[in-house]
């Protein structure tokens, strides 16, 4: 009964999404007064749709919780012995379930626009809701037609086929929700862009409404990508954190454009410039999110973790992609020229630096796009099987990122409209000198490799530039300390968030550069053997058999020695999950916060020697600390009073006053 209820709720949600995508649009076309009734259907339909999708999602989760194996989806992806946490998170650990999560998050966004958007102009809100309704309609249709999660099977199997063991991990259990929150969140900015095009008007208030949504989506996407790379680091056992795999790139591309959008929306808000570009960015960001969904689910790209290899689904998503991207771009071509440009500025100014930021981010996104999709086109056009691997991305993305990171330090110090570059640089003199001294000492005394040295120098530059910006704003050292403290407390949160996020990029970069100098050792060890990696000495004490709830395996014991004393024990494992007949590697990581000691065991040869791989990864934890801080910066900025969703109310009344007077 419960699965049928879930299925029925999903169908009702589809119908409501249909209502939501048509009636408010018609109402908005009739005008603010005559269409008021039709426009009022928007919020009700959106909230109804949200409740029904939530009910449907709950029904699916319920089926997982009680292990109802008469549901095909539960049978294929769950097992009665699986821990409860993974039964629940397994709901979205497969294609069908993750689609329900996708539409649930979209419905929540719609509901939030309906609930919190009371201060938006009525026609704009109606149009935003209509566009969101159309997207929801497409994806609900996709879920119901090609990936129904509630399909029953008969006879009912005795037990399930279990979840892919690699997904039975907290890192991956919570990675998809954040990623989807990010992907789907960009739909709101997209809907705002489409609505503004239909409306034919983009102003500062529009920038003010779009930015919090973009910021929220960006935070979620940042956390989602961070969780994914953290999971790859500690669970896959290969010691790396970023593989430039097509599926990873699929999430990186919208992140790069969302970052650009975040910054260009500031220009729209403050200066009413870059309107057309910002609209285009909003459209492209969501298009890349859709493209990511398509790449991951269609199996067209050769990736280590593309799932759901099903051509029928691929074609359906490709059609959705074509309608959404094609439709919005046609709308853009038709309406964008009508948007009136405003706000002049000189090339050297805050706006100018934000244009540069957008240009470099868009360029890096373009090269990642080419590298990710070229194999697909090469296969279709020339029948050549090609891989574009890390060397390509390192060679193309690094040169674009270096100027971006250098400029990132300077940009926030430039004033709006017209700036004196030399004055800004003079304020950064101290930071630049420290970075230069560091680079010279590092290359001369520590490590001669150029790329990691450059990474460390840029990381230091970003942190120092952010600190300089902060010190300048609170007039540190020029006024009494108490006054500086008062100023710091009075700083707008948006500014604090920006400073934190920029410094966080530096911290993340330091972690990546640290990974670049990390030594690794792969060696054969017999019990009693001693080896070294980085500053550490380790003794291999042999292996033991271990048993878990739904797996069995072996555990290697490595003792960390310091001056001959035993300090700690590392226990890397190899697990075997009998239901899925699959093995996994569990790395053992000992972290000091400044560096990770990372151990993996491999197979044992006939003469009793085990392959042991050891990494000493200086600063590696900073990669994820940096990502979390970046998202935190976004959240601080999001909590700014001026950005609060209710805040534009007063401004709108002011903006509407002259219009009312003219009528």
């Amino acid at each position: 009964m419960i699965p049928e209820l879930g299925h029925f709720a999903l169908v009702l949600a589809l119908l409501l999404a249909g209502v939501q995508s048509i009636l408010p649009l018609v109402g908005a076309a009739q005008g603010e007064r005559r269409g008021a009734l039709l426009m009022a259907t928007g919020p009700s339909a959106a909230i109804g749709q949200m409740l029904f999708v939530a009910l449907s999602f709950f029904c699916l989760m319920w089926s997982y919780a009680v292990s109802d194996f008469s549901v095909a989806n539960v049978y294929q992806n769950s097992h009665s012995l699986k821990p409860m946490l993974y039964k629940l998170t397994g709901t979205w650990g497969n294609h069908e379930g993750s689609m329900v999560l996708w539409v649930l998050i979209l419905a929540l966004c719609s509901g939030a626009v309906a609930g919190f958007g009371q201060n938006l102009p009525a026609t704009l809100r109606a149009r935003v809701l209509a566009v969101l309704g159309m997207i929801a309609f497409g994806f609900l249709l996709f879920t119901l037609l090609t990936s129904n999660p509630f399909k029953r099977i008969w006879p009912v199997p005795e037990d399930g086929r279990d979840l892919n063991p690699l997904l039975q991990d907290p890192g991956l259990a919570f990675h998809p929700p954040f990623l989807y929150l990010g992907y789907v969140g960009t739909a709101v900015a997209f809907a705002f862009a489409c609505a503004a095009l239909i409306e034919g008007r983009v102003d500062a208030a529009w920038g003010r409404w779009v930015r919090p949504w973009t910021l929220a989506a960006w935070c979620a996407l940042t956390l989602g990508i961070g969780l994914g790379s953290w999971w790859a680091y500690y669970e896959l056992g290969w010691g790396g954190f970023w593989f430039w795999d097509p599926v990873e790139n699929a999430s990186l591309m919208p992140w790069l454009l969302a970052t650009a959008l975040l910054h260009s929306a500031i220009v729209v808000e403050k200066r009413e410039a870059l309107k057309v570009w910002t609209i285009l960015l909003a459209i492209l960001t969501f298009s890349l999110s859709l493209l990511g969904t398509f790449l991951v689910r269609s199996g067209v790209l050769n990736s280590v973790h593309a799932f759901a290899n099903d051509p029928e689904r691929g074609v359906f998503i490709l059609m959705l992609l074509a309608v959404a991207v094609g439709g919005s771009l046609i709308l853009f071509a038709w309406r964008a020229p009508a948007l009136e440009p405003k706000g002049l500025f000189a090339p050297i100014s805050r706006e100018g630096s934000l244009v540069l930021n957008n240009l470099l981010l868009a360029t890096s996104c373009a090269v990642v796009f080419v590298g990710t999709l070229y194999p697909l086109f090469a296969d279709l056009l020339f029948g050549a099987k090609i891989t574009v691997g890390p060397p390509f991305f390192n060679a193309t993305v690094f040169p674009v990122f270096v100027p971006l990171l250098v400029a990132m330090g300077v940009g926030p110090l430039l004033p709006w409209k017209r700036a004196d570059l030399w004055a800004a640089l003079a304020r950064l003199k101290l930071a630049a000198l420290v970075v230069l001294a560091f680079a010279v000492v590092w290359i001369a005394a520590v490590d001669r490799r150029l790329l990691p040295a450059l990474g460390f120098a840029l990381a230091l530059w970003l942190v120092l530039a952010a600190a300089t910006d902060f010190a300048d704003r609170v007039r540190l050292g020029r006024v009494p300390l108490a006054e500086s403290f008062a100023r710091a407390r009075g700083l707008p949160r948006a500014i604090v968030g920006g400073i934190v996020a920029h410094a966080a990029v530096g911290i993340c970069l330091a972690g990546i550069a640290g990974k670049g100098i990390a030594p690794e050792r792969i060696t054969l060890m017999r019990p009693g053997d001693v080896t070294t990696v980085g500053p550490h000495t380790l003794r291999f004490d042999g292996k033991a058999d271990i048993v878990g709830p739904n797996w069995r395996g072996t555990e290697g014991r490595l003792t960390l020695l310091r001056d001959g004393r035993e300090v700690a024990v590392l226990t890397p494992e190899r697990r075997f999950y009998p239901v899925q007949r699959m093995s996994t590697t569990e790395a053992s990581i000992r972290t000091s916060g400044l560096a990770d000691l990372y151990a993996v065991i491999g197979e044992t040869s006939e003469d009793g020697a085990t392959v042991v791989r050891l990494h000493w990864n200086p600063l590696a934890p900073w990669i994820w600390v940096g990502t979390v801080l970046m998202a935190l910066g976004g959240l601080i900025s999001l909590s700014d009073r001026r950005l609060r969703v209710g805040a534009p109310a007063r401004r709108r009344r002011e903006a509407l006053a002259p219009l009312a007077a003219a009528e």
């Binding site: 099987k385 574009v388 060679a395 674009v400 054969l524 093995s583 993996v600």
Partner: protein, 173 residues
């Protein structure tokens, strides 16, 4: 600064961005595209040793051989076959969890002058029932696997020969 001049600035900047991106992409492509070849491709084409390529097929049953090299590393040797030709592959390091005889595998590395393949990386998939697309393609081209059928069982794999020409031949060139 007039509107026209600002536009000129932006157009120039965009041109510069696009131009450098294109230049970067092209030079990087030149050096870093990795082509995939099946073992029978390698037998037919003349690929010079030393160029990074990917190969793939099924790991022949009974061909996996582990030896310890003089400098204390575990060297693994195995044969990768697409049913029409097979190739000896050597690799030092930790094999992926799903590496197994009869399983689809993709290896990146280069040919050595003695005609074997020195892998720098061995990739196997997350899912046991999953077949890397290149491998599936190579098998189909060698005439051993029809879409919709499960791949032939591992133990038969090293005794398979190219499909006999006749009614069921799927050898296409």
């Amino acid at each position: 600064m007039t509107r026209k001049r600002r536009r000129l600035w932006i157009v120039l900047l965009c041109g510069l961005g696009l131009g450098s991106a294109a230049a970067l992409t092209l030079t990087a492509f030149e050096e870093s595209l990795v082509f995939f070849h099946s073992p029978s491709d390698l037998a037919a084409k003349n690929i010079p040793p030393g160029r990074t390529i990917r190969i793939g097929g099924l790991v022949e049953a009974g061909s996996v051989d582990r030896t310890t090299t003089t400098d204390g590393k575990l060297q693994i040797a195995f044969r990768v076959s697409d049913g029409a030709a097979s190739l000896r592959v050597t690799y030092t390091g930790i094999l992926p969890d799903l590496f197994r005889e009869g399983q689809g595998v993709v290896a990146e590395g280069m040919l050595t002058p003695d005609g074997s393949f020195r892998a720098t990386q061995v990739l196997a998939r997350h899912d046991e029932t999953y077949m890397p697309p290149e491998v599936a393609d190579a098998l189909k081209r060698a005439g051993h696997w029809q879409p919709g059928e499960p791949p032939p069982p591992a133990r038969d794999w090293n005794t398979l020969r190219p499909a006999a020409s006749g009614g069921t031949s799927r050898l296409t060139n």
